[in-house]
Symmetry: D2
Subunit: 128 residues, 4 copies
């Protein structure tokens, strides 16, 4: 977890957002620049996957519109759902590996808040 922050850049999961505003200060540079998150390195892959998921959802609508067979539509809905699930798991993994790990290193209430926030997100994901 080596973080070489250049001016104006917050590497790996900015802590300045959400419920833990004060965390930003600890990583400095929040005021100047390009915000980067845990998923920054995977951004292109995520966007590509999301474009495909969007196309799949549009495909489902087209199938309904063209009176396709129910079961075939359901198969396509499952594919779109799986694609979104993969996106969610990637975002979560990146978030843990960067934002949460960084907050944990910093420790204190910022870390507590980040961990509680991540656990709540996981619970939402598991239950959805």
């Amino acid at each position: 977890m080596s973080i070489t922050t250049e001016p104006g850049t917050i590497e790996h999961g900015t802590v300045e957002q959400g419920a833990v505003e004060q965390g930003a200060v600890e990583h400095g540079a929040a005021e100047q620049g390009v915000v980067q998150h845990g998923y920054t390195a995977d951004k292109d892959a995520l966007l590509k996957r999301l474009r495909r998921a969007e196309g799949q959802v549009r495909g489902v609508a087209r199938m309904v519109d063209e009176d396709a067979y129910c079961i075939d539509i359901l198969t396509q809905v499952s594919a779109a759902t799986k694609a979104l699930e993969t996106v969610a798991l990637q975002l979560l993994e990146d978030h843990l590996a960067h934002c949460v790990a960084e907050a944990a290193e910093a420790g204190g209430p910022v870390a507590q808040a980040k961990l509680a926030e991540a656990s709540a997100a996981i619970a939402r994901l598991v239950r959805s």
Copy 2:
């Protein structure tokens, strides 16, 4: 569930598609007309919901593109997933209430095939 199909129309869940081609004959008229499925009556509602889901997925992509906070993106992904799940459950309910019910009335191997097909779709949905 007695269905008096007028020419050119297959009411409620055509059985002529998928693995049970021969079912069509029993309902006649497959050659002439507007194909209707279990979800036909819910088509507008389904399409509306799918447009919204598509917009939500596009919203997720925009958030990633604009470097939004990981947890906020995850919340939006969950919303899109839930929307798709609702679409799937509606399609399945319509499918059972029409296609499967109709096949069950007809009985025989057509009914068996339809029921097995529906159960497989449910399993995919539960496991996705």
Copy 3:
């Protein structure tokens, strides 16, 4: 759910239960005997699977009690959850193939009620 069946047999998913009491008459024999459900033929397999699931849950408790490693416990929880999911899908498949199919053949409000009930059960399963 108190069922006082007199001598006799109701094959495949008694319709005399739940919201659709009157359905029983249509299948006759309600007065004589052993109640059978869609899952009757799979009963031994289901019971075996459930005993295993019960053992898995007990295994999870033992792991917690003996301070096993969190991730190893989670793996065991997943195994138990999967076993229960398989039981649920089997029950549902049997229910559709017998109770629901039989009600659909009978038609009318009994069929409607059975189908709505099955769809609600599927939704609970998908969302759990």
Copy 4:
């Protein structure tokens, strides 16, 4: 997240287990004592919940054995599944808040391994 471990005790999520054996050294005392994990503080609540889940699974078996109505059995299966899900989420939350947070503080390959392991566990949970 400063942990002052007394002799013979490893507080909060031992790192000496699993794939990251070397982590143990950093927390010392692995050789002498009571192993504690992230879930140690929640142990009683977890065990109570697991006993209840076990009873629910046994209840499902009894219902099958006594020929209960399919849909009623499914409702009970869902209750058991939800109970296990709650246990899993609690274990995961504790694991993140202790084992993972601690590893993140330590940093290096141990932290990487812990984070990857946690992400894999989350993926299994979401997909089960």
